[in-house]
C-alpha cells in the first residue's frame, strides 16, 4: 500500500492522537476511516447522522477489531452542541459530511455551509486543531477561461458567481470552501482543501453526468473524447487521509484524480459491455454548447419557466474538453493510486451489475 509507506516523521500527529471523521458512514467517509486505521491511527471518532446506514462502516470497523479505539458518535452538525462534543480532544478533523443530492439551494447550503460553520466554530473554541481537512469538489472550478484541452490543476480559478451555474451543489461547495479559507485566515485554523473529480466505485451511481444523461428513453452521450476525472473511492480515501496528516501542506489545495484516466467514450463502451447494453446518441461538443446556451437564454426569456439547469457555465464545468493532473498529490503527499483504473473500473462495473448502484 502506497499509504503505508508514509513515514511517521513526515506526519503531523501520532497514532494515538484523536482524529475526527465527519460523514464517516458515507461513501468516501468509511473508506477514509479504513485508510486511517490501515495507517495505524487507531484513535478515531466517527461522526455519523443518526439515520445513517451503518453497514459499510461497521464492516470496516469489524475488519480492524481489537487494535482500535474507535468511537462512533451519532450527531447532527446543525447542532452547535453536537459539534462541540465531536471536536472534543481532537487534533485533526476530516470534514466529509455534506448535503449531497439536495436540489434546493437553501437545503444544500444549510447542510454544507451552515454545518461547516458550526464545526469550525467548535474547532476555534477547542483551540487545539492541527488541521482541518475540507472535502471540496471539482464542481467549484469554473473552467470557463481555460482553453479547450488545457490542463485543469489546483491553480485553476473557482466560480466567481456560483449562483449563476444554477447548480445547488456547486454553490454550496464554493461557499463552503470560502468559509473554510476565511476561518483559516481569521482564526488560524490550519486547513487543507481536497477536491476529488468523480469518485467512483461500489455504492456510487454507475454513470456520471460528465458521460451523459438519460432522457426520454435515450442516453445522450455528451462527454465524447473528454478525459474523465476519475478517482477510485479507495484511492481517493488514501489521498484524503494523507492530506490530513502530512506535514508542510497547510493552506494547500489538492485535486484528486487517478492515473490512466479513460475517455468518456471508452467509459461508456466499457459500461455497456460489462453492465448493460442500451441505446445512446452522441452529441458533439459544439451542439451541446449551443443547446446549453439556448436553454439558458430560454430560461431567462421565460423568467424561469424552465429552470436554468443547463447553461454555459455548467457546460464549461462539465463537458468542456479538459486534462487533469495528480502531480501535486504525488509530489507533496507521496500518494499513488493503490487500485489501478482498470481494476477500479472492473470493481465498479461488478457492483453495478450486482445492483449496488444504477446508471
Amino acid at each position: 500500500m502506497a499509504i503505508m509507506s508514509a513515514e511517521s516523521g513526515s506526519l503531523i500527529v501520532q497514532p494515538n492522537d484523536r482524529i475526527l471523521v465527519t460523514g464517516a458512514a458515507g461513501f468516501i467517509g468509511r473508506r477514509v476511516v479504513n485508510s486511517l486505521l490501515k495507517m495505524g491511527f487507531y484513535n478515531l471518532r466517527c461522526l455519523t447522522r443518526p439515520s445513517s446506514k451503518m453497514d459499510g462502516l461497521d464492516e470496516v470497523l469489524r475488519a480492524h477489531q481489537g487494535s482500535t479505539r474507535v468511537e462512533v458518535m451519532a450527531g447532527n452538525l446543525l447542532s452547535a452542541q453536537d459539534c462541540v462534543a465531536a471536536v472534543k480532544d481532537v487534533t485533526v478533523v476530516f470534514h466529509l459530511a455534506a448535503g449531497r443530492g439536495e436540489k434546493s439551494f437553501p437545503d444544500a447550503f444549510l447542510n454544507s455551509v451552515v454545518t461547516t460553520r458550526n464545526l469550525l466554530d467548535a474547532c476555534v473554541a477547542q483551540g487545539n486543531i492541527r488541521r482541518f481537512v475540507n472535502m471540496s469538489s471539482f464542481a467549484v472550478y469554473q473552467n470557463r477561461h481555460n482553453p479547450k484541452g488545457r490542463l485543469l490543476d489546483e491553480s485553476a480559478p473557482v466560480e466567481d458567481h456560483p449562483e449563476l451555474r444554477a447548480n445547488s451543489y456547486c454553490f454550496a461547495k464554493t461557499e463552503q470552501d470560502k468559509l473554510v479559507m476565511d476561518y483559516g485566515q481569521r482564526f488560524g485554523i490550519p486547513q487543507v482543501l481536497v477536491r476529488p473529480g468523480w469518485v467512483y466505485g461500489p455504492g456510487n451511481p454507475g454513470i456520471h453526468g460528465r458521460v451523459g444523461i438519460g432522457t426520454f428513453g435515450v442516453f445522450l452521450h455528451l462527454g465524447g473524447g473528454n478525459t474523465m476525472p476519475l478517482t477510485y473511492v479507495d484511492n481517493c480515501a488514501d489521498a484524503v487521509a494523507l492530506a490530513g496528516l502530512t506535514k508542510g501542506v497547510d493552506g494547500e489545495v489538492f485535486n484528486i484524480v487517478d492515473d490512466d484516466l479513460p475517455s468518456s467514450r471508452k467509459f461508456l463502451r466499457l459500461y455497456k459491455k460489462n453492465v448493460k447494453r442500451f441505446r445512446s446518441v452522441y452529441l458533439p461538443h459544439v451542439v451541446t454548447y449551443y443547446l446549453c446556451s439556448m436553454w439558458e437564454s430560454y430560461s431567462n426569456w421565460s423568467h424561469g419557466q424552465l429552470p436554468s439547469a443547463y447553461n454555459r457555465r455548467f457546460w464549461h464545468a462539465t463537458w468542456k474538453r479538459t486534462r487533469y493532473t495528480n502531480a501535486k498529490l504525488k509530489s507533496r503527499l507521496g500518494w499513488k493510486p493503490a487500485v489501478p483504473t482498470s481494476e477500479g473500473l472492473r470493481r465498479h462495473f461488478e457492483s453495478c451489475l450486482a445492483g449496488e448502484s444504477h446508471a
Binding site: P50, K103, F105, D107, L110, V113, E163, Q305
Partner: protein
C-alpha cells in the same frame, strides 16, 4: 412601489423570491433569518438589498409594506403578530397557524389595525383551480356542490424534505400537533373549505402509519389519512391524504345536482363530467369520445400557455401574491376570504383531535358533533 420582505430563508423562500421578482411595482427590500448565513445566501442569488438575523431590526430598518412569512409554522403566529404590530401586511405560508384559535386571533389583530392578511394556499390559484372555480360560479354544477372529493397525496422519499423528516427525530415538522399532515394537507382541505358554508361542519377522520413507514422504523408519523366532512345543508366531502397510493394524486372533484368537474393539479387539467346519460349504447360510445376531445383540449391549452411563458410551476403563487398586493394597493377584498382560512384551520383541528396517540375516537367525535347540534 411595494416594499416587500421575507422572513425565513429556507426552501420555500426561494419560491416566494422568484415569484415576487416576476411581479411589477414591487421589490424585495430585505430578508431575515435567525441564521445569518441563510439570510445572506438568498441575497447572493436574488437582487435583495439587505439581510437581517433579527426580525425587529428588519422591521425597524427596512419598514416593509408587506412581509412574507416562510418560517416553520410554529413561529407563524408570533412573527405575523410582530409584523402586523409594525404596520406591515402579511402573507403567511401554509399552514397559516398552529390552530384555529391562533388564526382567529391574528385575523382580528390585523383587522383592528386595518392591515391585510393572506394564507399561502397558492394551489388554489393555479390555472386549473381558477378555471374550476369559474365553472362552479357560472353554475355548471347546477348549484353548490352536493359532494366533493379532495386528494392531496405526497410521495415519501422523493424529496429532501421527506429525507430530513424521516431521518431526524427532532425535525420541526414532527413537533406540529398534526405532524407531517399538519404541514401538507391545508392545500387539499382549503379546497373543501371554499364550498362548505357551515362554520362547524362534522368531521370524521381516520389516520394511520403506512406499512411502508412502519417497515422503516417509523412509529410516530401518520402518513395515511381519510376524512369525511359533512354539513347540515347536505354538502359532503371526502379528503384523502396518502403517501403510498399511486398515482400520487392532487385532485379535486366536485359533483353538483346537474354535472360534475374534475380538476387535476399535476396535469393542470379540468374535465367536465356530464350529468345526463345518453340512451342505451350511445352512452358507451359518445362520452368516451367527448372525454378524449376534452383531454386533447386540455393538452392544447397547456402547450399554448407554455409557449406564452405563462405556465410556471408556481404560477398559482404568483397569481395569489399579485392578487394580494392588488388588494392592498387598491383596498379591495383579499384573494382568500378570512372565513375560508378559519374553516380550513377548524377542519384541521378536528382531524388532529381524532388521530395520533392522544386522539379521541372517531365515534366519540361523531357523538360530540351530534351533541353540539
Amino acid at each position: 412601489m411595494l416594499n416587500v420582505a421575507i422572513v425565513g430563508c429556507g426552501k420555500i423562500a426561494d419560491d416566494h423570491a422568484e415569484q415576487i421578482q416576476r411581479i411589477k411595482d414591487c421589490q424585495i427590500v430585505a430578508v431575515c433569518d435567525r441564521e445569518p448565513l441563510m439570510a445572506r445566501q438568498i441575497c447572493q442569488r436574488f437582487p435583495i438589498q439587505q439581510h437581517f438575523d433579527n426580525l425587529d431590526d428588519m422591521l425597524a430598518v427596512a419598514k416593509p409594506d408587506v412581509v412574507h412569512i416562510t418560517t416553520p409554522p410554529q413561529s407563524h403566529f408570533s412573527v405575523a403578530k410582530a409584523c402586523l404590530e409594525a404596520g406591515s401586511h402579511v402573507y403567511v405560508e401554509k399552514p397559516f397557524a398552529i390552530d384555529e384559535r391562533q388564526v382567529r386571533e391574528l385575523l382580528v389583530f390585523a383587522d383592528a389595525r386595518g392591515l391585510k392578511v393572506t394564507a399561502g394556499h397558492d394551489d388554489q390559484f393555479r390555472h386549473s383551480a381558477r378555471l374550476m372555480r369559474e365553472l362552479i360560479q357560472s353554475g355548471y354544477l347546477g348549484g353548490p356542490p352536493v359532494h366533493m372529493e379532495s386528494y392531496f397525496c405526497y410521495e415519501m422519499g422523493r424529496s429532501g424534505f421527506a429525507g430530513a423528516l424521516l431521518n431526524d427525530k427532532n425535525y420541526w415538522v414532527r413537533k406540529l400537533p398534526g405532524g407531517l399532515l399538519h404541514n401538507i394537507i391545508s392545500h387539499g382541505i382549503a379546497r373543501i373549505a371554499e364550498y362548505i358554508t357551515s362554520e362547524t361542519p362534522m368531521v370524521i377522520a381516520h389516520g394511520f402509519i403506512s406499512p411502508f413507514l412502519r417497515s422503516h422504523g417509523e412509529d410516530e408519523l401518520i402518513d395515511e389519512l381519510r376524512v369525511i366532512v359533512s354539513e347540515e345543508k347536505g354538502t359532503t366531502a371526502y379528503f384523502t391524504f396518502s403517501s403510498q397510493m399511486r398515482p400520487s394524486l392532487h385532485q379535486f372533484r366536485a359533483y353538483g345536482s346537474k354535472n360534475g368537474l374534475v380538476m387535476d393539479q399535476d396535469q393542470e387539467t379540468v374535465v367536465k363530467l356530464r350529468g345526463q346519460r345518453y340512451v342505451s349504447y350511445v352512452e358507451k360510445f359518445v362520452p368516451p369520445a367527448q372525454m378524449a376531445k376534452q383531454s386533447m383540449g386540455n393538452a392544447v391549452t397547456n402547450v399554448r400557455r407554455f409557449l406564452k411563458r405563462d405556465f410556471h410551476m408556481k404560477s398559482g403563487m404568483k397569481f395569489l401574491i399579485e392578487s394580494f398586493y392588488r388588494s392592498i394597493v387598491e383596498d379591495t377584498p383579499v384573494p382568500i376570504p378570512y372565513r375560508e382560512i378559519i374553516l380550513t384551520a377548524h377542519i384541521m383541528d378536528r382531524i388532529f383531535s381524532q388521530i395520533g396517540p392522544n386522539a379521541e375516537s372517531a365515534l366519540a367525535a361523531v357523538s360530540l358533533e351530534t351533541a353540539l347540534r
